[in-house]
Amino acid sequence: MTTANAPAPVRRNALAAPLSRVLVYVLLIAAAIVALVPLYVMIVTAFKSMEEIRTGTLLSLPHAFSFEHWWKAWNSACTGLRCEGLKVGFVNSFLITIPSVVLAIAAGAITGYALSFWRVRFANVLFTVMLIGGFFPYQVLIYPLVRITSTIGIFNSLVGVIAIHVVFALPVVTLLFRNYFASIPIDLFKAARVDGAGYWRFFFSILLPMSVPMIAVAGILQVTFIWNDYIVGLVFGGINYAPMTVQLNNIVHSTYGEREYNVEMAATLLTSVIPLLVYFTSGRWFVRGVASGAVKG
């Protein structure tokens, strides 16, 4: 620590003083390694034979790449009573994720629009209720939602899972679009009004084309969240529409006899492929979504 009456040191970045640059890099790289170890271990384990898993270590590279447990995880591992592998869940996750994301974004964008440019009575009350609702733990709403969906006959169906996802995504997506529309100059709106653009015309011809970045951000976040969801799929999907996460957990926890770690890790990797692909190809959008307070904040 420098004292007040010490001779003035060479001017340097005071905040950098205790940590040399080298140390900063060492720490940052160490943190990156810690972050990457689980992914690395997942990958190498998935390629090893059980023999190699027993004799080698967690971190060692596979000697002979074997693929049969990938095939088993995909095609024949048992998820409870059925032994058809993860492929069923993969298809289900697609069938759930794509319509849910499209509908959630459409609903959120339109709601955000109606809440932004128009002085609608009680709009702020509605928005506040939505924001608070976005914080509710799913556990609170699950029982009423099970009753509602079974009353209208969509419990344990694809439609039911999608409907629940859309309802749960609505607050966040609306928040994103409302904030985005708030940054659009009001003069644009006024000019469009003067030129006679109606309610939907302004939305579809002017606002929507300007919102492509926001649609991308919301889409990427929601694809990741909905693909990764466990509890909605578990409760509302039933046996026929169990998403990949539910099937993965069943595969790992319903094995009898010797656990096959390589099959488990292959299955875990297969379940992460889509979100990882989305993340690594669009990382910056994802970061933007997170940083702009997208995560219900």
Partner: protein
């Protein structure tokens, strides 16, 4: 923000909001009132609307499994939040100084957040496996007596879940705080430099308070992770050994569907909801007030 508009378009906006309002009111308001209502009845497998006062709450708080669940959640919060905040802040502060490969580092730090909690739980279960996991690596590196069996040890298992959660969330906290640090006025850094204030002091007393909003956001995100914690426990320990790693969210689901004690589960859910509101409402209030002040 708002302009006076011909009433026909405004009417259309209002009409657009009708279905949204219907869904929001029936699910978020109606659903919650229903759930809270059930918590005051004797409902077991099927709802039963005879009023039972606070019976379910009395049963709940004398239930040993609920007490363990709450204790685990508290322990989780007390360790997970400060540690993740410290890691996230340190990484953000180091990156903020300007380093090469910033984008690559950020991408690496945040990727765990893109993985599901089920995947997170299963990977860490494998990493911490007492026979073949990290303990085995240590043994084969000639530490022959190394053992690390926390995940199957009733007293320590909860810490393995905390470790997995810290891995999952540190990058998120880093991103949120880095966005805050990027907004700190350049003059403030200059002043700190000129005054020669030691780095740790400057961070603790000057920089951290000036990014209070980002820290609050990160805290709320982490608190919600704590309250909602479910998937990672299911995947990693299934609540075991025994009930050692049980958490409130899991208690609720188990009692609702497997044990069919809907009234008790609803009382637990209502308790959880109150906790969430205590966390979320002050933040929403603060945010709105700040926006109001800025206008």
């Amino acid at each position: 923000m708002f302009v006076r508009s011909p009433s026909s378009s405004r009417l259309q906006a209002a009409l657009t909001l009708v279905p949204v309002a219907f869904v929001v009111l029936s699910v978020y308001v109606g659903g919650v009132l229903w759930a809270v209502g059930i918590s005051f009845t004797r409902s077991s497998m099927l709802p039963n609307y005879r009023f039972a006062g606070f019976t379910q709450y009395i049963n709940l708080f004398s239930n040993a499994r609920w007490q363990v669940s709450l204790g685990n959640m508290a322990l989780f919060a007390v360790i997970f939040i400060p540690v993740t905040l410290l890691i996230g802040y340190s990484m953000a502060a180091m990156i903020n100084r300007g380093v090469r490969g910033e984008n690559a580092l950020r991408t690496i730090y945040l990727y765990p957040f893109a993985m599901s909690f089920i995947v997170t739980g299963l990977v860490w279960r494998w990493l911490l496996d007492p026979n073949f996991g990290i303990a085995d690596v240590a043994r084969k590196l000639s530490f022959e007596n190394a053992s690390f069996d926390w995940i199957v040890n009733a007293d320590m298992a909860i810490f393995t879940i905390i470790i997995a959660a810290i891995w999952h969330s540190s990058g998120l906290v880093m991103v949120v705080l880095l966005a805050g640090l990027r907004g700190v006025d350049e003059d403030l850094w200059k002043a700190i430099r000129i005054e020669g204030i030691p780095a740790w002091k400057a961070h603790l007393y000057i920089i951290m308070p000036s990014i209070g909003a980002s820290i609050a956001t990160a805290m709320v995100l982490m608190s919600l992770t704590v309250v909602r914690m479910f998937d990672v426990v299911v995947a990693m320990t299934g609540g075991g050994p025994g009930i050692a790693t049980d958490v409130p969210a899991k208690f609720i689901i188990d009692h609702m569907f497997e044990r069919q004690q809907v009234g008790l589960a609803s009382a637990a859910a209502t308790t959880l909801l109150l906790l969430v509101l205590v966390i979320a409402v002050p933040l929403l209030y603060l945010k709105n007030r700040r926006k109001g002040a800025a206008q």
